[in-house]
Symmetry: C2
Subunit: 159 residues, 2 copies
């Protein structure tokens, strides 16, 4: 893999907004949100979180790494499921406190390409009905069976 990149210190608004130095802002928990989308279809697959090490590893390896807030561990996406996210492009926003990762997802041993632990292709598999509070499924079927892929690992969803 490439060497781990370093980040610039944030000194001025001009530097952060108009410059070419990577100077990400991590929140009070040391995390930055990352929108991950399919590089070909544009579908948003998930909203993940990275700490500094996850961001460095994502850049150095060209594979998505996140910080799992529910499990409190560095998370190489696909390490368990095989559904690795290959980085096509990484973008950062104006004030450098959010990332947009465009990826290509590889299929796993038990599954076509997917990114959601519930088994769907995208985590955003439900839409909010206009004018109301009801949800409607956008994906008609799961891509994989989570029991087959994750076994009896605990569900990361927190109530």
């Amino acid at each position: 893999m490439n060497p781990l990149p370093t980040f610039a210190t944030r000194t001025t608004i001009h530097q952060v907004e108009e410059g070419s130095e990577l100077a990400p802002k991590f929140d009070v928990d040391g995390l930055i949100p990352c929108v991950t989308s399919d590089a070909v279809t544009g579908e948003v697959l998930m909203l993940g979180w990275m700490n500094a090490q996850a961001l460095r590893l994502t850049i150095a390896t060209s594979q998505a790494h996140y910080w799992s807030r529910s499990r409190q561990v560095l998370w190489h996406k696909g390490a368990t499921s095989g559904l690795v996210q290959q980085v096509v492009e990484l973008r950062i926003d104006d004030d450098q406190d959010a990332l947009w990762l465009r990826v290509s997802v590889q299929a796993g041993p038990h599954s076509d390409a997917a990114s959601c632990h519930v088994g769907y292709r995208s985590c955003f598999y439900r839409r909010v009905e206009p004018g109301g509070g009801r949800l409607r499924f956008v994906e008609s079927a799961k891509t994989f069976d989570p029991r087959l892929v994750y076994g009896d690992a605990p569900n990361p969803t927190v109530l």
Copy 2:
């Protein structure tokens, strides 16, 4: 506008992940992150934050409302610039702690359609160069002049 929707209480993981009740999870600050993309091109325009009222108003009016963390106010996107985001579709993720808003951005009196306070179409106007920590501009020119649109309003970017 439609009546403000109500949100369901989060009771079980099955309800949250597999159900059709809107039961969003707000963080310790009462906020939920929202990925906003162009409904036609799929381009991610911004990552915003909503509190419960902003989410209710977004659903009821079909125009994007956010909570401005830097200004600490409810923010009807486009109220100042005219660059209103019309909701095409609103999605929520598996554990209902993130939103994906697909919008159509209308042009303003001083600008073609854009969503970034710096003047670019998307807030994500820079990519991280592969293997390094340098940024490269993806948009070649600003869509509007922020001074013309915002006057002397303070820049919302926080160092």
